[in-house]
């Protein structure tokens, strides 16, 4: 039985302080806020080390800066979703720290899916198995409102898989940080089918990957989705940064990448090649118009 106070409205959200109560409530269209306490930490090694199946959320959730450590999703029959949202409601998920997520699925892996707005989410972890494409931030092309992800970071080790690894698809990302270490041969996509990708840092280490695509102008069921990258920083270690395989290319504005850590890269106006040394040189970056200051 769920342990909570409040009525679940915007003015009087459910206040919870344990995961089981949260799981019980979050499938409804309601407002949930995690409690203000001295110890905002749940270590799942102590309460459920075997992990959970995927859950579907409908709630508007303020995690209130709680930390969730060693949360596992083991699902041999379904996708592994962490913040899976049923959509259809202008909801927000914000202010959560997930440390050492462990995701293992026979199908898709999603960190966030169909959520209208994620803000101030951080996640680190390991994707040990995926039976289909990995997409950390996944929107759906059928929704009117694409997911927006602001001020969030996602740092993952991804074990070799034959399926592509995507940071964000059908989503707007801004002020985010994605770090992926991937030793497999599949492709890695930073952003695709996106409306905007701004001020985001990507550190992708994928030495064996067939290629890393920075911004992909993709085809969806409702037409083409114009990916754009503005003021982004790409630190990519791979063989090739591949050309968008479609006719319509993504647009870049004032984004930089380190050209000396890849063997080849397509050229695009607004995508500025820099050496590793130049990327660490504030005066150089200022001289090419990149907005940066020294600390």
């Amino acid at each position: 039985m769920a342990n909570y106070t409040g009525t679940g409205t915007q003015d009087d959200p459910y206040i919870v302080a344990d995961w089981n109560s949260f799981r019980e409530l979050c499938g409804n269209q309601c407002y949930i806020k995690w409690a203000e306490t001295d110890d905002k930490l749940i270590d799942f090694n102590t309460i459920n080390p075997d992990g959970y199946g995927s859950m579907t959320m409908m709630a508007n959730v303020d995690f209130n800066d709680w930390t969730f450590r060693n949360y596992r999703v083991n699902d041999n029959n379904n996708p592994a979703f962490v913040l899976n949202h049923a959509g259809g409601w202008a909801s927000q998920i914000k202010n959560a720290n997930f440390e050492n997520l462990l995701l293992n699925a026979s199908s898709f892996v999603r960190m966030s899916w169909a959520t209208c707005l994620c803000r101030n989410i951080s996640a680190t972890g390991n994707i040990s198995r995926s039976g289909n494409e990995i997409i950390l931030i996944a929107g759906t092309q059928s929704t009117v409102e694409c997911p927006k992800v602001y001020a969030s970071s996602f740092v993952f080790e991804v074990q070799p898989t034959t399926y592509n690894v995507n940071c964000a698809v059908f989503a707007t990302t801004q002020d985010c940080y994605f770090k992926i270490n991937f030793s497999g041969t599949a492709n890695v996509y930073c952003t695709s089918h996106a409306f905007e990708d701004a001020n985001t840092l990507y550190k992708i280490k994928a030495p064996n990957s067939n290629g890393v695509t920075l911004a992909f102008y993709g085809q969806g069921s409702s037409g083409r989705y114009p990916s754009s990258s503005r003021n982004c920083v790409y630190i990519i270690e791979t063989k090739n940064i591949i050309r968008d395989p479609n006719t319509y290319h993504a647009t870049f504005t004032n984004s930089i990448y380190n050209s000396d850590l890849v063997e080849s890269c397509f050229e695009a106006e607004g995508l500025i090649p820099c050496t590793t040394e130049q990327m660490k040189d504030v005066e150089y970056l200022q001289s090419i118009g990149f907005p940066i200051g020294a600390v």
Binding site: S152, R230, P291
Partner: protein
């Protein structure tokens, strides 16, 4: 690009949600603004380096040799914000660290002007806790 408070809510002045009302002069140099339907800021391109001084908006790119391996970073996202308590306080020339302190963070005093510190023998610290060239002495073992 920067966070502002708009109608009582945090709001960003970039991407698909550019609003006209929050753009009221005078702008900070770092703030992006509309100019002939283009989003620009005072640094594009940089003509006056005095513009690039603290305080930066949290979303403004910055560089420190101690953070993100020296690559650009900003302070909107959570994970890389590993700055030490006194990091880059360039005016800090002297500090008294009592013997009761048993651990000093990875970049706690990096980038300060400290030339010499004294800590407890059993105090844990990192090679990057103090600025380069800073002499670390221990209580009871002063030279």
């Amino acid at each position: 690009m920067s966070w502002i408070i708009y109608k009582g809510e945090p709001f960003q002045t970039e991407a698909a949600e550019v609003q006209e009302k929050p753009f009221v002069k005078p702008f900070p140099m770092a703030l992006f603004r509309m100019d002939d339907d283009e989003i620009v800021n005072g640094y594009s391109p940089v003509k006056d380096t005095r513009a690039i001084m603290y305080p930066y908006p949290l979303s403004y790119w910055r560089q420190s040799k101690y953070i993100n391996e020296g690559y650009p970073f900003h302070e909107m996202y959570r994970i890389l914000n590993t700055a030490g308590a006194f990091q880059d306080v360039s005016t800090l020339v002297k500090v008294s660290i009592p013997q009761s302190v048993k651990k000093i963070g990875e970049f706690a005093f990096a980038g300060t002007a400290l030339k010499k510190v004294r800590i407890a023998v059993d105090c844990e610290y990192f090679p990057t806790s103090f600025p380069e060239g800073c002499v670390v002495e221990f209580y009871g073992q002063e030279v």
